[in-house]
Structure formats: structure tokens, C-alpha cells
């Protein structure tokens, strides 16, 4: 059974249900629980739900220390860019401790970070910066594209014994979708095939999954059947599902809102070039943002970012091109 919810409410439902189920789950961050009628504060109390100063480094470091003692903190960071001021904790402390201690400690924390707000928020609140985290050993990286996955991946992230950076896309915040009732876990490291097709594989991330599906419908009208894959987590990355699809279609287009050289798309393309080269009938196409800071002006935003038209054009090129025998 399912119920309809906006993406953001699905995330909150996961956090609330996990806090109900497990008393070790804590929730803290900036601007949460600022008044006594806050629903989380009312339900779970001021010990478990805490507003913090604007101190990302200390917030995340505290989460790590509390996690050593068996707690499962979810840290609300609002904007993914705010994590950048705390990179020592995110990169050097949280994900390395389990490994460097020879397995003595675990760090079950969730860093909840909104990203990609390309709606006039300009250069410092809009980046799709997951690429710089997916290469950090020990970190897991989730990028839900639907309301149902938003819930299922948050549940999995809270239950996971590793630090998880949970990137939720701001342009999906109010997108409604059917959300599974009650306990709902989407395993980290398992891609979803959103649409089946035999002519070309499109791997799309986050907000662009919807754009890729729309492009696929347009292409189907022209006789091109695209298979659309949503990785759902970038670390661990389900390369197996992607390679299996490319084996079938022989063509790959990777769609990513990140700057090209910091993108997940570049890593996915490299994996397929390295491990699936024999299946490819045409060069891999990347549809990414330009290697530039997101501009403020609306038409310039559009110029910089991937959209349905750019995706469809890349697919047509991939289908038209063939590696000469």
C-alpha cells in the first residue's frame, strides 16, 4: 500500500518512523526545532532533537563522537555547500575511523544535504557536488530521485553503520509521488531501471531522471527505445546494472547536473569504457553542466544545465554514430 506525499515529506516520514523505532536516532542541525510546536521536538523531546549554532564542523564532529557511542545522528545541513566548511569532518574523520581503527568503531551518521537549487539561487547554493564525495573511501552517497526512494533511501541511510551523505534535490522538494506505507528500505548500492528499452542506455541522476524519462518518451515517438537507469546511490555504485544494460543496448548516454569534470557521469563513463568497452557500438556521450559556476540569470542557468532537449539530442547522436568495424 502507498500514499501520496511530496518528496520532502517522504524524507521527514522516514526520519520520524526511524526515530519512533530506534531511540538511538538523534536529529540535529541548524534551524530545526526552533519553536515548541515543532512536531519533531514535541514527539521526541529536546534531548534527541537539537537546534545547533551555525557550526557545521562541530555539528558533524559531534555526530561522529556520538556515533562511536552507539547513537545514530541525522545532521540537517540544509545546503550541500555548507558541508564544504566542514570537509575535515566529512572526509578525514567520519569515513576513515572505522577503517583506520582496524574495524573497532562504527560511524552510523547521516548528513542530510540539499543540492541543485538552480532556480535563481546563484553560485553558492546550487551545486551538484556529490562527485567530490563519491570518491571518498568509507562514505556512502545517496541521490534519491522520487518521493518513494526519498523515504526508502533515508531509512536505509539511518540504519546503515557507515556515514551516508544523503543528497536531496531542492527542485524535487514539492514533487508528489506514491510512497510505500510503513517500513520501507531501499538498499544502498542498488540501481533502479526506470524504463526498459533496447536501443540506448541513459543513466541519469537525481532531478534529471525525470528529464531523461521525458526525453525517452519523445524519442520513443521517433522509434528510439531508451533504457533509463537511476543509480540511486553513487557510492557504492551499482556498475553491474549499468554494464548489463549497455551489454544489451551497446550505447550509453550519462546525464548529470554536475560540472563535467567533477561529475559522477565521468566516473560512470570511465567504468563502462574500462569494463564494458566490448559492448559499445558508439562513443559514450556525457550530458552534464558546463564546467562553470551556476550563474544567477535565468536564461544563463538554462544555457549551462542539461535539459530534455540536450538529452534527446545526445541520444540521437549516440544512435546515429557507430564504431567502424
Amino acid at each position: 500500500m502507498a500514499h501520496e506525499l511530496p518528496y520532502i515529506a517522504a524524507i521527514e516520514e522516514a526520519i520520524r518512523e526511524e526515530m519512533e523505532r530506534d531511540p538511538t536516532v538523534l536529529y540535529f542541525g541548524q534551524n530545526i526545532a526552533t519553536h515548541e510546536n515543532d512536531p519533531f521536538l514535541k514527539q521526541f523531546g529536546a534531548d534527541r532533537v537539537r537546534v545547533t549554532p551555525i557550526s557545521e564542523t562541530a555539528e558533524i564532529g559531534m555526530a561522529v563522537g556520538a556515533a562511536f557511542a552507539g547513537y545514530r545522528p541525522v545532521v540537517e545541513l540544509y545546503m550541500a555547500e555548507f558541508m564544504l566548511v566542514a570537509m575535515d569532518q566529512v572526509v578525514n574523520e567520519a569515513p576513515r575511523f572505522h577503517y583506520m581503527s582496524g574495524g573497532q568503531v562504527k560511524v552510523p551518521i547521516v548528513l542530510k544535504a540539499g543540492y541543485g537549487f538552480t532556480a535563481g539561487w546563484a553560485g553558492q547554493h546550487t551545486g551538484s557536488i556529490y562527485g567530490m564525495f563519491m570518491g571518498v573511501p568509507g562514505l556512502k552517497v545517496a541521490v534519491p530521485s522520487t518521493a518513494d526512494d526519498a523515504k526508502g533511501l533515508m531509512t536505509a541511510a539511518i540504519r546503515d553503520d557507515n556515514p551516508v551523505v544523503y543528497f536531496h534535490h531542492y527542485l524535487l522538494t514539492l514533487e508528489h509521488g506514491d510512497v510505500t506505507d510503513g517500513e520501507h528500505v531501499v538498499p544502498l548500492g542498488q540501481a533502479a531501471v526506470r524504463r526498459e528499452g533496447g536501443d540506448v542506455t541513459i543513466v541519469a541522476i537525481g532531478w534529471l531522471v525525470g528529464k531523461a524519462l521525458a526525453a525517452a518518451e519523445e524519442l520513443a515517438a521517433a522509434g528510439i527505445e531508451a533504457e533509463v537507469i537511476d543509480p540511486r546511490t553513487l557510492a557504492p555504485l551499482d556498475t553491474e546494472t549499468i554494464l548489463r544494460s549497455v551489454e544489451k543496448t551497446g550505447r550509453l548516454v550519462v546525464v548529470d547536473q554536475s560540472t563535467r569534470h567533477g561529475s559522477a557521469a565521468a566516473v560512470i563513463a570511465a567504468e563502462v569504457a574500462s569494463e564494458g568497452f566490448g559492448s559499445l557500438k558508439a562513443p559514450v556521450k556525457l550530458v552534464t553542466a558546463l564546467d562553470a559556476t551556476i550563474p544567477y540569470s535565468e536564461p544563463m542557468e538554462g544555457y549551462l544545465l542539461p535539459d530534455e532537449t540536450k538529452i534527446a539530442a545526445a541520444v540521437r547522436e549516440a544512435v546515429a554514430e557507430a564504431v567502424s568495424a
Binding site: T52, P53, G103
Partner: protein
């Protein structure tokens, strides 16, 4: 203190012989702080340290053989050879660990203190850091939250006057670290870190108060770093301590114990620790892959 001194001297020898192959920072001269603080703690009290961690780990109860095996990269090391000198962890003895980035450990101790408070115990968290960490934003952020939430954490600053290779005077206009936290409701004290008894007395007062629900506190220990920043440091930035000056500040010499029995016993123990460490094999490469993620 002799156990730590003998250990650190042996690590110095093994580093020069390339048996300890990485970067090591020795704590000779700082034994009074490690022992004065950790000697008052229980296993369920949590201690964090930084890059100069060997003495703190041993004082908290980590077996010297397992620490030395770690430094030698062996399977029998505290962290099976994956951590090394700057990342020692011994959960069994409440040594949650050392971090290699200056100041990176301070908020972790807040998390342990928060957990202790939430669980309703009287255990506390202690974090060692140098005077170099105090000028970082992470220190200010942590002090602010520790005070705001009244966390049972005791901040122990080892002020040896040098932040890595640079004297304190080149870092800040505030001479005393305890003065840095003056605006916050934090109990603070500066003591002679070379006097182990003074450290123990001052720390124990803070500890009793933290166990009774108080906190946070800051204990600044004025100490001397006998060696360079790291083993092999040519120390062109300072004069070496003359022998008579060293005797005046050496925390062990200052105890004035004429009996050499303790020293000899410690040196025997470190001989045995080295024998045990050497007998341990290097870890299997498969360990790396297994430990990237917790299962």
C-alpha cells in the same frame, strides 16, 4: 611515566633504523600531562588525542606491545596496521582515538560527552590538543557548543609553546590558552604540566565536577617538547635545550626519585613489547577491502 619515556625512546631508535617507517611525533617531556590526566580516568571515560598520541594511549591503558606493533605496521597492532602513529584507537581502554589533523578531534569529544549525558552515566570525555589547535575555527565552534549544552567534556591543552614549527608568539596575541575561553561559562585553569602531581590534582577536581554533572572545563598544561615536531626534525627554528635546562623541566627528573628500579622495569617491558611486535606478521591485503565499509 618511565613506560612512556622508554617507549618513545625506543620508537625514536626504531624510526632511525627504518623499522618504524612512517611519520612519528614523540611525546618526551609531556609524560606528566598524559599520566596526570589519564591516571585519574576509568576505562569507560573516553580520551581523544592528536598527532602526538603514543603517551596518551599508553597512559589510558593501551598495551605498549600493541601500540608498537601498530607503529611497525603489524597485524597485531591496535588497528592491525591500518592506522599507524597518528590514528591509534583502543576502544577496550576508552581510547577513542587520535586524529592527524590539528583540532579535528575536539568536536568528536563533544559527541562522546553528549552520548554520556544522554545515556545517563557519569563517564566523561577528555580531549588532548596542543596550543596550535586553539587558533582554529573548529576550537571556537566546539567550545561554544560544549558551553551552550553544558557537556561533560574536559579540554586538556598541552601548551608547549610551539605549534608544529612555529612559536606561539607568531600565532596569536593571547599567551594563555585558558584566557581564550574566558567569555564562556567554562571552568579554566593553567598548571605546570611538568609537575605530574599538580596536573593530577587540578584534573581530578575537574573530573569530580564533570562526574557530578558539571562541564565543560579547560585545563592548560604548560609543558616542554624535548624533541622536534616529528622524529627527524632538524629544529632550525629553535635552540636545543641544554642538558641542565632539560633536567630542570623533565617531568621524570622533577619527581626526584633516586631508585632506578622503575626505569629498569619499564625498559624491560619495552624490550618485551618490541619482541612481541616483531613476532607479529604484516597484515593481509584483504583486510583493506574488508574494512572500507562497516558490514
Amino acid at each position: 611515566m618511565w613506560r612512556i619515556r622508554a617507549f618513545e625512546e625506543r620508537v625514536g631508535e626504531l624510526t632511525r633504523a627504518n623499522e618504524v617507517h612512517g611519520l612519528v611525533h614523540l611525546s618526551i617531556g609531556g609524560e606528566g600531562v598524559a599520566v596526570g590526566v589519564c591516571g585519574a580516568l576509568r576505562d569507560d571515560d573516553v580520551v581523544y588525542s592528536g598527532h602526538r598520541a603514543h603517551g596518551h594511549a599508553i597512559a589510558k591503558g593501551a598495551p605498549p606491545a600493541a601500540v608498537l606493533a601498530e607503529l611497525m605496521g603489524r597485524e597485531g597492532g591496535l588497528c592491525h596496521g591500518l592506522g599507524g602513529s597518528m590514528h591509534l584507537v583502543d576502544v577496550e581502554h576508552g581510547f577513542f582515538g587520535a586524529t592527524g589533523v590539528v583540532g579535528g578531534n575536539v568536536p568528536l569529544a563533544l559527541g562522546s560527552a553528549l552520548a554520556a549525558r544522554l545515556a545517563g552515566g557519569d563517564n566523561v570525555a577528555v580531549v588532548f590538543f596542543g596550543d596550535g589547535a586553539v587558533q582554529g575555527g573548529i576550537f571556537v565552534e566546539s567550545v561554544n557548543i560544549a558551553a551552550l549544552w553544558a557537556l561533560p567534556v574536559i579540554l586538556v591543552c598541552e601548551n608547549n609553546g610551539f605549534a608544529e614549527f612555529t612559536p606561539r608568539s607568531a600565532h596569536t596575541t593571547v599567551e594563555r590558552v585558558s584566557d581564550v575561553v574566558a567569555p564562556y561559562p567554562i571552568e579554566r585553569l593553567t598548571v605546570d604540566g611538568g609537575d605530574v602531581r599538580a596536573v593530577r590534582v587540578a584534573f581530578s577536581q575537574f573530573l569530580d565536577a564533570a562526574r557530578a554533572g558539571g562541564g565543560p572545563m579547560l585545563l592548560e598544561c604548560l609543558t616542554h617538547r624535548f624533541g622536534g615536531h616529528y622524529e627527524g626534525d632538524a629544529q632550525q627554528y629553535r635552540e636545543r635545550l641544554a642538558a641542565d635546562e632539560w633536567r630542570r623541566v623533565d617531568p621524570i627528573a622533577r619527581l626526584g626519585i633516586a631508585d632506578h628500579g622503575v626505569e629498569l622495569e619499564a625498559r624491560d617491558e619495552i624490550d618485551e613489547a618490541e619482541r612481541v611486535a616483531r613476532a607479529s606478521p604484516f597484515p593481509d591485503a584483504s583486510l583493506m577491502e574488508r574494512l572500507v565499509y562497516a558490514p
